[in-house]
């Protein structure tokens, strides 16, 4: 079926003086484009029954590399600890963590169907989580989210908020075999709204966040919670630089010219670093009373910023190493330090996803032991309502109807006096916040946003 005539043509040069004929141009253009792509797609760009297999999928490359890597590290520390203490039901745990790659659903399917994972953890992107939910549901493997912000995935009330999978405006995407151990956007924004209400009262508030669903969602929830708390803030401006932007100065300038008292931001990982360094350069931190950030409080961010981090702003996260005074947290920190103290590329304290990921592994241990095996249905029914005893953030419980853990989030003040093993800032004066579904429903009433708790 080949095109013989043209093939012969292409091998016999036409011998004319034209340097570049059409065919060669096309071939060159196609190849050049292809080569360019091969270098660029990275961002969107990885059983037997004698082990318990845990599959993990995180962003291990590109913008959120540090974030996904610290989740994987925390999971591996927990696995090592459990294996040293007899495993689960006498069986060792085998863990395989892969990158989202350019096709996260293929990775999830591959781990479930080729690696034969008994249970899974993962995901570093809310968008990927929502898009993969039907796939995960069909696979039937228990899947615990440890790094995901969107409240939708743990919101079962399709009647009030609309089914996410049946409309373009639905906000309830509850999926029966998915669970979450980290506190979500709903917790985070409540905590900041509450902190502002308690410490500053009604203010002129500006917003900055990454230009995708997460940034918009954080701002919507912050405003809804503030209103629920009786705060009539004046919202002076809202700016969304694109995700992974290298230059945020135009947006920082607009915020400066709107002259807010407080700035709410929802940057994380690389974006948090970019924002803080450029805002510091433009003197933003001297112009406003306080700046808040939802999930930027991570050792890798502070380490990258070095001495640029302004002191006294408030950043939050799902976990901060010194925020909890209990023996589980100490055991986690000790094990983590031992594992990574000789590693030059990784801070020897866990990142902001560390607590929730470590907890997820121990949660699976308890559920599999209680279920007497890894039958997915049995494990799922054990997970519903399970109390995670070894959670470094203090005991948490997976809510039976929403599959969301009653996890606290933490707000702290940036300072160079923080006890951190790298050159840079950390959090001091940390406070943890928790929120119940009932209270959240009360506060969000009328906003159309679901608690996801």
């Amino acid at each position: 079926m080949s095109d013989d005539r043209t093939q012969q043509d292409s091998t016999s040069s036409d011998g004319t003086s034209r340097g570049l004929n059409r065919r060669h141009f096309l071939a060159a253009a196609g190849t050049g484009a292809t080569a360019a792509v091969a270098g660029c797609t990275g961002l969107d760009g990885g059983g037997g029954s004698d082990t318990i297999k845990i599959g993990g999928v995180y962003l291990l490359s590109g913008i959120a590399q540090a974030l996904g890597t610290s989740s994987a590290n925390a999971a591996e520390v927990a696995v090592k600890q459990i294996n040293e203490n007899g495993g689960i039901n006498g069986k060792d745990i085998e863990i395989e963590v892969r990158d989202h790659g350019e096709d996260p659903q293929a990775q999830i399917r591959s781990l479930a169907q080729e690696f034969n994972a008994d249970v899974m953890i993962g995901l570093t992107s809310s968008g990927v989580t929502l898009a993969s939910a039907p796939t995960i549901e069909s696979l039937g493997v228990p899947f615990t989210l440890t790094d995901i912000g969107t409240p939708y995935i743990t919101e079962p009330d399709t009647e009030s908020y609309g089914n996410y999978f049946e409309s373009d405006s639905g906000r309830a995407a509850f999926t029966p075999n998915m669970f979450r151990t980290n506190s979500n956007t709903s917790h985070m924004t409540y905590a900041i709204a509450k902190y502002v209400a308690d410490n500053y009262g009604e203010s002129r508030v500006a917003n900055m966040g990454p230009d995708y669903a997460y940034g918009q969602q954080c701002w919507d929830y912050f405003k809804a919670y503030s209103e629920g708390l009786g705060m009539n803030h004046e919202y002076v401006t809202s700016e969304f630089p694109s995700l992974g932007a290298s230059d945020m100065t135009p947006q920082i300038n607009s915020v400066l010219s709107a002259d807010p008292d407080l700035l709410f931001t929802s940057f994380w990982a690389g974006d948090a670093t970019t924002f803080i360094s450029q805002a510091a350069e433009q003197g933003l931190f001297e112009e406003v009373d306080d700046v808040f950030d939802t999930i930027g409080a991570d050792p890798t961010v502070y380490e990258a910023l070095g001495d640029t981090t302004p002191e006294g702003i408030h950043m939050s996260g799902w976990y901060w190493p010194t925020a909890y005074d209990n023996e589980n947290n100490q055991a986690f920190l000790d094990a983590y330090r031992e594992e990574f103290q000789d590693d030059d590329t990784t801070p020897s304290i866990p990142g902001f996803t560390g607590g929730s990921t470590y907890a997820a592994i121990y949660m699976y241990k308890k559920a599999i032991e209680a279920a007497g095996g890894t039958n997915p249905e049995d494990v799922i029914s054990e997970l519903e309502g399970i109390t995670i005893d070894n959670d470094p953030r203090g005991q948490t419980t997976i809510k039976e109807d929403t599959h969301q853990a009653t996890a606290p989030c933490v707000i702290g003040e940036t300072s160079f006096d923080a006890d951190v093993p790298y050159d840079g800032a950390g959090l001091v004066n940390t406070q943890t916040y928790t929120l119940t579904r009932e209270r959240s429903l009360e506060l969000l009433d009328g906003s159309g946003l679901g608690p996801g708790l």
Partner: protein, 363 residues
């Protein structure tokens, strides 16, 4: 049998071809019963991309126009499919009319309308694009596809509708895209899940059917006077014009056909993924059929399909090894370099050369 079909099939020239096609058909039909769930869905995805790349190659290899925006057809058709499955089908009450077969009706409806939307988009964008040639053609298709990416990523349609007082400001749902669940089909007592991720045999067979029809249609297009004219334009547009061919009009028609079949592939892809994200319209997605075609060989009908298989399975092999996976762009780039340097028509050309070499040795 009329027109001596039997004689033609049994003619010495065609006999090998018929045997070859039959062998491939048997293997592809039998495959899902042998392979596991993951491999079956990988094969389904590969078949869809084979159709996509072949449709793309109608413009590139056969007409000499390098489109760098073919993902826009996947997007046009994909968002249409998602809309139909999520909202239009329930609103039309298809479930109550067709009962257990409803999902099959929705599927056919989505496939037809999705393809039509892609074709419609190709009519407009094609008309503007074929005014240009060579690198300018590549650039204008790239621009259009990125414009479409911005429209779906920023949900501009949703905002525009909201400004007119329709809907709540969401239409393409921004960066989260549209995701749906496909349920059970009950066709005359034959019950199956349309897209069963765990074991997608049913959807695989449907994919095979659609791709086979699509590939045959494209084969007929290419081997018709229309296809021959395309090749004349590729070889020398000035001479083609001198012969009285309206090259611009002809390129436009080819663009529409290519866009429609890309849309068909897009509809199947979105069903298989049970959702669409704006990144499916991003330029990196437009590059996929380009890469596949260059790897496979643009100057043979089956080149892009061979490229699709090479691409998907090589990617799968790379994924098996964490070290290769970590540097997968490098591994891939290296392969590409070998293909470009040592094969004059991609992997397909390589296979052909090997065949010639072997038959020479036998003589």
């Amino acid at each position: 049998m009329s027109y001596g079909v039997r004689e033609r099939l049994l003619a010495p020239d065609n006999r090998m071809r018929v045997v070859g096609v039959a062998a491939v058909a048997i293997v592809l039909v039998a495959a899902p019963f042998v392979l596991g769930g993951f491999q079956t869905s990988l094969l389904a995805r590969t078949l869809v991309f084979a159709l996509f790349a072949t449709a793309f190659n109608l413009l590139y290899g056969y007409t000499g126009l390098l489109s760098f925006g073919h993902a826009m057809f996947v997007a046009a058709s994909g968002y249409t499919v998602a809309k139909i499955v999520q909202q239009v089908a329930p609103a039309l009450g298809i479930e109550s009319i067709f009962g257990g077969a409803a999902l099959m009706v929705v599927w056919i409806l989505a496939l037809v309308i999705g393809t039509a939307m892609a074709a419609l988009l190709a009519v407009f964008i094609g008309y503007l694009s074929v005014q240009l040639e060579e690198i300018y053609f590549a650039m204008i298709t790239l621009s259009f596809s990125m414009a479409i990416w911005v429209i779906v990523n920023q949900d501009i349609i949703g905002s525009a509708l909201a400004a007119l007082g329709i809907g709540g400001g969401t239409f393409t749902n921004g960066s989260d895209g549209l995701t749906f669940r496909l349920g059970e089909v009950d066709l005359f007592g034959l019950e199956f899940r349309l897209v069963d991720i765990a074991d997608p045999i049913a959807f695989y067979l449907l994919t095979l059917l659609v791709v086979a029809i699509g590939m045959y249609a494209l084969y007929r297009v290419i081997n018709s006077p229309f296809g021959t004219t395309c090749q004349a334009i590729r070889e020398n547009p000035e001479r083609a014009r001198a012969l009285g061919i309206d090259t611009q009009f002809h390129s436009w028609m080819t663009f529409i056909i290519s866009g429609a079949f890309s849309g068909l592939a897009g509809a199947m892809l979105v069903m298989l993924k049970t959702g669409i994200l704006p990144s499916d319209a991003f330029w990196t997605s437009s590059a996929t059929p380009v890469v596949m075609t260059v790897i496979g060989g643009p100057y043979a009908f089956l080149g892009p399909a061979v490229g699709a298989f090479t691409y998907e399975y090589l990617r799968w092999i790379i994924r098996q090894y964490p070290l290769l996976e970590e540097f997968w762009e490098f591994s891939f780039g290296f392969l590409l370099l070998i293909v470009v340097l040592f094969f004059d028509n991609g992997v397909y050309g390589g296979i052909q050369r090997l065949r010639e070499y072997v038959s020479d040795r036998q003589e």
